[in-house]
């Protein structure tokens, strides 16, 4: 394991980013097709800010929506996966720095993760 180098980390990070974008965009695309099929003729208006529909505003609603094949719930799940992609990249960077025994950068990476976590919590409170 001591042979883990920066070039290995580059390969892993590259792979995670590519896979994350591919998977999440595919989910968004499938959700989009279903949404258009079911609501293609519905009238929409985005000129006033009213937030998002209730069923996509919380994890429970999104999960339930996926099982009942609601297009927008599937799109939102894909969006969550897309947002998670760079965060997963940071987690794997942390693991990589641990394997390289670079403790300063393990700490720096953990700090970035902590900030993202704090941001998630503060958004919830607001």
């Amino acid at each position: 394991m001591n042979k883990f180098k920066d070039t290995d980390m580059q390969a892993v990070i590259g792979w995670i980013l590519r896979a994350g974008v591919l998977v999440s965009m595919s989910v968004i695309f499938i959700g989009g097709i279903i949404y258009l099929y079911r609501h293609g003729q519905t009238h929409v208006d985005y000129s006033k800010f009213v937030g998002v529909p209730d069923f996509v505003s919380n994890p429970g609603g999104i999960i339930q929506g996926i099982f009942t094949l609601r297009g927008r719930a599937i799109i939102q799940a894909g969006i969550v996966l897309l947002i998670a992609t760079p965060v997963i990249r940071v987690i794997f960077s942390a693991i990589g720095f641990i394997m390289e025994k670079d403790f300063m950068y393990t700490a720096i990476t953990m700090l970035v993760l902590f900030i993202i976590l704090a941001s998630m919590m503060s958004g919830h409170a607001g």
Partner: protein
Amino acid sequence: MSVTILTLIILVGSYLAGLLGSLTGLGGGVVIIPLLTILLGVNIQYAIGASLISVIATSSGSAAAYVKEGITNIRLGMFLEIATTAGAMVGALIAVYIPTNFIAVLFGVILILSAVMSLKKKAEHIHQQKSILAEKLKLNGSFPTPAGEVAYSVRNVGGGFFMMLFAGVISGLLGIGSGALKVLAMDGIMRIPFKVSTTTSNFMIGVTAAASAVVYLQRGYIDPGLSMPVAIGVLLGALSGSKILVHTSSSGWLRVVFAVVVTFLASQMIYKGITGTI
């Protein structure tokens, strides 16, 4: 407007935004927001949410390629991400309390700055002067060129870090990657070779955008019906752009045309912001 028609219009518009953003290096986000707000009358809060999602998709997609080529300085990116994520969190949190008019004006100003930056001549400068802080943080690196590996050193770490904090706030506030500001910090202040600056900036954009997206997601800014065509369109546009970029060596005239278009859109945003019609 019906869902199908709006989706198709946004898909085409986002494709063009992604294509032009990638060809000029400005990024898709700075074009998509004026497109949605000025041309399609979408509320700026929804536009910011959708743009942020497209920013994560394009930056992650292209970062994957750059990271493998070994140009991206991962340590430098990681270190500066402390500043950009903290800034993005603050930006997203204060966005709720800032009037949308002010956000529109600020957006216009940043847009003009980005356009001017994209016209600037790119000089590849490589410095070897030692900075103690950069050495301690292991920020100095090397990157592959046709002539072999070239080593470079990083200067003014504190100044660059501070600029990144600002870039993060702007990214969180406006829902853009603020790549222009990130390059300004690395290329202009820290004196890092341009190629390393742009790829490392791109590498950081996804994480920065994710830090504010987690706030916006919970605040209802990210509408699935709107974000879907925006993310798909911008990503496909950016992919086409990167393919074209390999084949055409000179895109000078394109930059000028795009800068003029962007400046026009920016002045529209500022005007609408001031008159309160956004």
